[in-house]
Amino acid sequence: MLHVFDFMREMTTLSVVLRMLLAFLCGGVIGLEREYKHRPAGFRTHILICLGAAMTTLTSQYLYLTMQMYTDVARLGAQVIAGIGFIGAGTIVVTRQRRVKGLTTAAGMWTSAIIGLACGAGYVECAIFATLLVMAAEMLLIRLEYRVASGAREMNIYVEYTEADRMTEILQGLRAEKVRITNLEISRRVEGDRRYSAVVSLGNLRGIPAERLLSRLEAMDDVLLVEEM
């Protein structure tokens, strides 16, 4: 432990206020970044969670040191970990396509709460460093995000064509590229000239450039439009 932070571990008014301000700051910093990415758990949510968690460890210390009562100083904090887990579980949703969304949001809130616990307890070194790491991880991921998205293993292609049999050729062409077709939806235009529109969901795209698939489909007869989604 860094001894420069020893004053943060005492039960003085200044120490209490500073610890709560630190929790406010840590939660705010993590929340601000989440807010910019337009996540459901934003700025205020993270601050409130971090602050509440800090209040629990502060209360434990107050009971133990100032009121000299018989207590396990870790007990209140332990339930924070469980309680925020529940709140996080409320944000997780499984979509129609059986994808799980909201996990990162829940995990972020959970980590934010635990950092708050550290702030309240006076473990300033860990709290600050952990917050910095969370920020660093998020900012690095911005760079990685596009690279992951373009080299993705999954893709949706939108195709418009005029002859119904064209779809068989399209599917054969895709299968020849060794991609897996995970979903297919076709709709036919009701009025006007005959036109079919289809959304083909592809998987297992590793190593196959998207352009190759698109140009292969565009080269086919009767295919009006090919668009990557």
Binding site: Y36, K37, R44, M55, T59, Y62, A149, V199
Partner: protein, 236 residues
């Protein structure tokens, strides 16, 4: 000051009143926004947490005092035990207020977090930790009141956006996708859903996009609404 630190009848009443006041203050801001958890909910949660800690202290006092010679097995009680379950329980309550709409929009998170913070504050009030209470109320109010417009400002011009569109059919997806890309957006994710039956079948799509340059979301949506086949378009 020593009086209010100890657990006397007066300090008990003072703490309960403080809980009502603090919870009410925080709840007032939520009430003005017509949230599900308003004024009274915050008050009740703070009050409940305070009573829990008052009870815990009472039990500790009794076990070490009047009951010491009455019990066969003297088991010391941990004063944090009841309070710990408050945190767990309000987490449950909070999870119940979170709604995921059919547009996959998550609502109620700030409310849940606020309720939870209110409960934690109630614990501090219950033990007589007035420093924590005052700082807590000030910081929570600061967060709820002052930062709300800040959140809205960030939202309006942020680089990430979720667009919820309702289209007449699959056939319009191509034009819309092209339109979105033409506005300088990178599409990170797309989710399609069908809803309704028979003649009222609607295709809905949720695009997760990233904007290349900073622009007003409302303007972007206005331009996209001109695309053929778009029945409704809004931001998630």
């Amino acid at each position: 000051m020593a009086d209010v630190q100890e657990l006397t009848v007066w300090s008990m009443m003072l703490r309960l009143l403080l809980a009502v006041a603090a919870g009410g203050l925080i709840g007032l801001e939520r009430e003005t926004k017509h949230r599900a958890a308003g004024f009274r909910t915050y008050m009740l949660v703070a009050l409940g947490a305070t009573v829990t800690m008052l009870l815990a202290q009472y039990l500790s006092w009794m076990v070490e005092g009047p009951w010491l010679h009455l019990a066969k097995n003297v088991v010391p009680t941990d004063v944090s035990r009841l309070g710990a379950q408050v945190i767990n329980g309000v987490g449950f309550l909070g999870a119940g207020t979170i709604i995921v709409t059919h547009r996959q929009e998550i609502q109620g998170l700030t409310t849940a977090a606020g309720l939870w913070a209110s409960a934690c504050m109630g614990l501090a009030i219950g033990v007589g930790f007035y420093t924590c209470l005052i700082t807590g109320v000030v910081l929570i109010l600061l967060c709820m009141v002052l930062f709300s417009p800040m959140e809205n400002a960030i939202h309006a011009t942020s680089r990430s956006m979720n667009i919820y569109v309702e289209l007449t059919g699959i056939g319009d997806l191509g034009a819309l996708t092209h339109g979105i890309k033409a506005q300088g957006c990178t599409i990170y994710d797309l989710e399609l859903n069908k809803s309704g039956e028979g003649g009222a079948r609607r295709l809905s799509a949720i695009y997760t996009v990233s904007l290349q340059k900073k622009q007003e979301h409302a303007e972007l949506l206005a331009r996209l609404s001109a695309v053929d086949g778009v029945v409704s378009i809004e931001e998630n």
